[in-house]
C-alpha cells in the first residue's frame, strides 16, 4: 500500500501541492489526472525517491520495487541498440552461468508478455511509437516490480495501439496483482481501465471515484 499524509511539495518558493492525503491499495489500477504542471510527474518522482518531498509523509513499503516508464525519452532514428538489447540494459551483471541463463529466460518471458518477441532484433530507433512504448514497458518490468508507473505512455499513440498497450497493462495488473499508477490526459482511457483517480487541482490532490471524473479535468494548459 502507498499512503500520503499531509504531503507537500515546493520548488523553491513555488508551491506544487500541499495537504495531500490518499491511499493506493495493492493491485489497484489508478489514474492520475490534472492539468499540465499540476504536479503528476513530481508526485511519482517523490514516490520513487527521485525528488524530495517538502513536508508531510509518504509511506511506501521499501521492499516493493517500482517500475517506472518515464514521460520523456530521447531515442532518435540512429539509436543503435535493438529492442532486446535495450530491454536488457536493466539487467545487473551476473557472473554465474546459471544466473545468466535465468536472466535470459526472464528476458524472453517479458518480451513474450509484451508481444515483442518477433520484433526483438529491430533497432529501437526504427521502431514505431507503440513499439517503443512496449519496449520501455518491458525494460521496466525486468526487476519484477510490484508497482508500475506509466507517465503518459499512451500520449501520441493512435487509438488502436493505445488500447493494445492498455490491454497489456491491464492483463499484467490482473494476473500479477501489479499496482498500476497511470498518469494520463486521456479521458476515455481512464474511464475504461481504472476505477479510481487522483485528481490534481488547486495545488492539492484528491482521490475521486472514476464516475466523478469529467472531461474538463483533462483539458491541457491552464492551472
Amino acid at each position: 500500500m502507498i499512503e500520503a499524509r499531509n504531503l507537500e511539495k515546493r520548488f523553491g518558493k513555488q508551491l506544487v501541492f500541499k495537504d495531500v492525503n490518499f491511499k493506493i491499495n495493492d493491485g489497484e489500477f489508478i489514474s492520475l489526472v490534472g492539468h499540465n504542471g499540476s504536479g503528476k510527474t513530481t508526485l511519482v518522482k517523490i514516490l520513487m525517491g527521485l525528488e524530495k518531498k517538502s513536508g508531510g509523509d509518504i509511506l511506501i513499503d521499501k521492499k516493493q520495487t517500482i517500475g517506472y516508464v518515464p514521460q520523456f525519452r530521447n531515442i532518435d532514428l540512429d539509436y543503435p541498440l535493438d529492442i532486446e538489447q535495450f530491454v536488457r540494459l536493466n539487467l545487473k551483471w551476473k557472473l554465474s552461468p546459471e544466473k545468466r541463463r535465468k536472466d535470459n529466460e526472464l528476458v524472453n518471458e517479458i518480451l513474450e508478455k509484451t508481444h515483442l518477441t518477433e520484433l526483438k532484433h529491430r533497432p529501437l530507433g526504427l521502431a514505431s511509437g507503440g513499439e517503443k512504448q512496449k519496449a520501455y514497458l518491458a525494460q521496466s518490468l525486468l526487476n519484477d516490480p510490484k508497482i508500475l508507473i506509466l507517465d503518459e505512455s499512451t500520449a501520441s499513440l493512435d487509438v488502436e495501439v493505445k488500447m493494445q498497450l492498455m490491454d497489456l497493462v491491464q492483463e499484467l495488473n490482473k494476473r500479477f496483482k501489479l499496482t498500476v499508477i497511470f498518469i494520463t490526459h486521456d479521458y476515455e482511457l481512464s474511464k475504461k481501465y481504472t476505477k479510481r483517480a487522483l485528481f490534481f487541482e488547486n495545488k492539492t490532490i484528491k482521490p475521486i471515484s472514476i464516475n466523478d471524473v469529467s472531461e474538463d479535468m483533462f483539458e491541457l494548459g491552464g492551472r
Binding site: 520513487m48 527521485l50 518515464p70 525519452r73 540494459l89 536493466n90 539487467l91 526504427l126 521496466s140
Partner: protein, 265 residues
C-alpha cells in the same frame, strides 16, 4: 619494420591506445560527448606544455589538466545545452594558455609539434610502460562499472528511473575520458586524439546493435587504423596521424552508406 626499437615501442603503445580509445569511444558517442573529448584534447595540449614549462613530464601535465577540467565541466553542468557553452569557453581559454606556456618554456617548436600532431619516433620504453598502466586503469574502471555505465549511456532517463547513481557514473566516466585523451595524444597528438575517441565508436553504431558488439567493432576499427597508420607512416615517412584519420573517416562514410543501403532494402 619491427627491426627498429622505436617501431616496436610505437606498435605496442598504439595497440594499447587503440584498445582504450575504441572502448571508451563507444560511450563517448552514446553520451554525446564528442565535442567534450575534442575540447579535452586542447586542454591536454595546454597541460602538456605546462608540464614542459615547470619541468614535469608532458603526460603528467596532461593528466592533471584534463582530469581537473573534465570533472569541473561534469559537475558544473549536467544539462547538455549548458555544457556546450561552458565547454567552448573553457576550450578557448586553454588553447591560449597552452601557447603561452610553450612560448615561456625554452623547448624548441618541434616539441610543440610532437604534442599537437603526435609522433611515432618520440616514444621511449619507459613511456610505453606508463601508457600501458594507464590503459589498464581505464579498462578496469570501465569493466567495474560496465553494466551501469552502459545503461546510463544508452538510456540515461531509464537508468535514472531505475535508481542508478548517474551523477557518480558520469564523473567516473569523465575521469576515464581524461585519461584516454592523455594517453591517446602520445601517438596521434592532442589535435586528433578525438578521431580515435569518436569515429570508430560512431561507425560501429551503423553496423551492429548490442553494446558488446559495438565495443568489439569500435576496438577493431581503432586497431586497424593505428596499425595501418603506423605501417604507412613507416613506409612513406608521412605523419602517422594523417593515415589514421583518413582511414577512420573513410570507414565512417562506408559505415554510413552501408546503413543507408540497408534501410532502403
Amino acid at each position: 619494420m619491427f627491426g627498429y626499437e622505436f617501431m616496436r615501442e610505437a606498435f605496442i603503445a598504439s595497440t594499447f591506445i587503440a584498445i582504450t580509445a575504441g572502448i571508451v569511444g563507444v560511450f563517448v558517442v552514446s553520451r554525446n560527448m564528442s565535442f567534450l573529448s575534442h575540447t579535452l584534447s586542447e586542454i591536454g595540449f595546454a597541460g602538456a606544455s605546462f608540464g614542459v614549462l615547470i619541468g614535469i613530464s608532458p603526460l603528467a601535465g596532461m593528466i592533471l589538466f584534463t582530469m581537473v577540467s573534465s570533472v569541473a565541466v561534469g559537475s558544473l553542468s549536467t544539462e547538455s545545452s549548458r555544457r556546450e557553452a561552458s565547454i567552448s569557453t573553457i576550450s578557448s581559454l586553454f588553447i591560449g594558455l597552452g601557447i603561452l606556456f610553450l612560448s615561456l618554456s625554452s623547448q624548441s617548436s618541434s616539441y610543440a609539434t610532437n604534442i599537437l600532431f603526435g609522433s611515432i619516433v618520440g616514444i621511449s620504453a619507459k613511456e610505453v610502460q606508463q601508457l600501458m598502466i594507464l590503459a589498464v586503469v581505464v579498462i578496469v574502471i570501465i569493466m567495474v562499472f560496465y553494466k551501469s555505465l552502459a545503461f546510463d549511456s544508452f538510456d540515461h532517463i531509464g537508468a535514472r528511473a531505475a535508481g542508478l547513481k548517474t551523477r557518480f557514473l558520469s564523473v567516473a566516466f569523465l575521469i576515464t575520458l581524461a585519461l584516454s585523451v592523455s594517453i591517446g595524444s602520445q601517438i596521434v597528438g592532442s589535435m586528433l586524439v578525438f578521431v580515435l575517441l569518436t569515429l570508430p565508436g560512431a561507425t560501429a553504431r551503423y553496423l551492429v546493435h548490442s553494446v558488446p558488439k559495438l565495443i568489439m567493432v569500435s576496438v577493431g576499427l581503432s586497431l586497424a587504423g593505428v596499425w595501418l597508420g603506423l605501417y604507412l607512416a613507416f613506409v612513406t615517412n608521412w605523419p602517422v596521424t594523417f593515415f589514421i584519420s583518413s582511414f577512420e573517416v573513410i570507414v565512417y562514410f562506408l559505415g554510413l552508406s552501408y546503413k543507408n543501403w540497408k534501410l532502403s532494402h
